[in-house]
């Protein structure tokens, strides 16, 4: 029986929507994890979708005038207000549908942004649209720094990463702060659906996007996207790095449905040491064994906190 399930997983790529809504010819770097994540997200969403895109890599690489890589209605907005424009589009579609000016179809509004446009600059707009309960999805593609403008640190940059504004040197370990726990902040907004995802688990990611699409109300997905340029890693290890981030417990994949935490990927009983993940990336090259130990302790603590929630949380529909 187990063999059949394994084969199903193996051939699952054959079942994915073959239509490319994010076409070839975009100008992303070689091995861009974010472009891959956007491509997979569009496959999960389907054609009845409006996308609003904050400034960032995805806007720059996909829409060099006069060409566009998108096959979906797409609007570029300023850095802070992707979620606000998404909320506006959603309300406008609702009004037009009520007045009978457009066909009564289920068109989903999706706002996307990088980690700078979501975790730092666009944070109040996301918070606002989630709190108002618009029927939309926000997808944050987290590549852990402002990669588009040249690898400046953001709120999502992990401890110890060397960036251009937090460079590692004799007196500095690089970035001194830990990654902001954005999914947790979204859970605190009482959003019906929050999930973390990674492009290295494509079927899982597509399923989460489909689930978020079917939710009535706001949904938030935080997707880790590997950036070989900014992470100073080889472009062919892009998928491997995403997988290692999950297997070391640095970025566990879970979903929170009405307050109930659930791990979506079977985690190994014993997590891999975080060194496996760090040593493949040039931005962590300077870390000493002591600092790596500090990193490992923090990752273990965060993972334990999450497992505690997975064990004891209950859906608020059952309370």
């Amino acid at each position: 029986m187990k063999g059949i399930v394994e084969n199903f997983d193996l051939y699952a790529p054959k079942l994915v929507d073959k239509e490319e809504y994010f076409s070839s010819g975009h100008r992303a770097c070689q091995g861009c994890g974010e472009a891959l994540a956007v491509r997979l997200m569009c496959k999960g969403l389907g054609k009845d979708t409006v996308i609003t895109n904050a400034t960032g890599c995805m806007e720059v690489i996909s829409s060099l005038y006069p060409t566009t890589a998108w096959k979906l209605p797409w609007i570029h907005v300023a850095f802070p207000n992707s979620a606000a424009v998404g909320a506006g589009v959603e309300s406008a579609l609702k009004v037009l549908r009520r007045k009978g000016k457009i066909a009564d179809r289920d068109v989903k509004t999706v706002s996307i942004g990088g980690d700078g446009g979501s975790v730092d600059i666009g944070f109040q707009a996301i918070s606002g649209s989630m709190e108002r309960g618009h029927n939309m999805i926000y997808v944050c593609f987290d590549n852990e720094a402002y990669m588009n403008t040249g690898i400046q640190r953001s709120g999502a940059t992990p401890f110890g990463a060397s960036t251009t504004t937090a460079p590692a040197g004799a007196a500095s370990v690089g970035n001194k702060t830990w990654k902001k726990n954005m999914p947790e902040i979204m859970v605190a907004h009482n959003v019906p659906y929050v999930a973390t995802a990674c492009h290295s688990y494509p079927i899982d990611f597509i399923n989460k996007v489909k689930k978020a699409r079917s939710v009535k109300g706001p949904a938030y997905i935080h997707c880790l996207a590997v950036c070989p340029t900014g992470w100073r890693s080889s472009s062919d290890t892009c998928i491997k790095l995403g997988r290692l981030a999950v297997e070391t417990g640095f970025f566990p994949l879970y979903e929170v449905e009405n307050g109930k935490y659930r791990l979506t990927i079977e985690m190994p009983k014993k997590l891999r040491p975080v060194e496996d993940y760090l040593k493949l990336q040039g931005r962590f090259r300077h870390l000493t064994p002591d600092q790596m130990k500090q990193f490992q302790e923090r990752v273990t603590l965060e993972y334990k906190k999450l497992m505690n929630k997975v064990k004891y949380s209950k859906s608020w529909l059952e309370m």
């Binding site: 193996l10 051939y11 790529p13 054959k14 994915v16 073959k18 490319e20 994010f22 076409s23 070839s24 010819g25 975009h26 100008r27 992303a28 770097c29 070689q30 091995g31 861009c32 994890g33 472009a35 891959l36 491509r39 997979l40 996909s62 829409s63 060099l64 005038y65 006069p66 060409t67 566009t68 890589a69 998108w70 096959k71 979906l72 494509p202 070989p228 080889s234 472009s235 062919d236 290890t237 892009c238 998928i239 491997k240």
Partner: protein, 95 residues
Amino acid sequence: MAEKKWPETWQEINPGLMVFKPASARSYLTGGWRAQKPILDNTKCIKCGVCYLFCPEGCITEDAEGYFMADLNYCKGCGICYHECWPRAIKMVED
């Protein structure tokens, strides 16, 4: 009249810089960025489609027999398909 590649004067620019042709980025061939190209070996291929799913360009397509092939007009040569293909059916060679 042949279609222009881009607007030549400001009067030809659409209001709001709107682009009316979806997926027009396909006119820009990114294949020239490549240093290495993937060679897909159909004798080792098990037709699982992992290369298709993990390609950031979306340039790998399925042919009529179910084998996969990379469109070298767009392939940037990142090597993800080579790294992820576990039957080792893909090799990277200098272009």
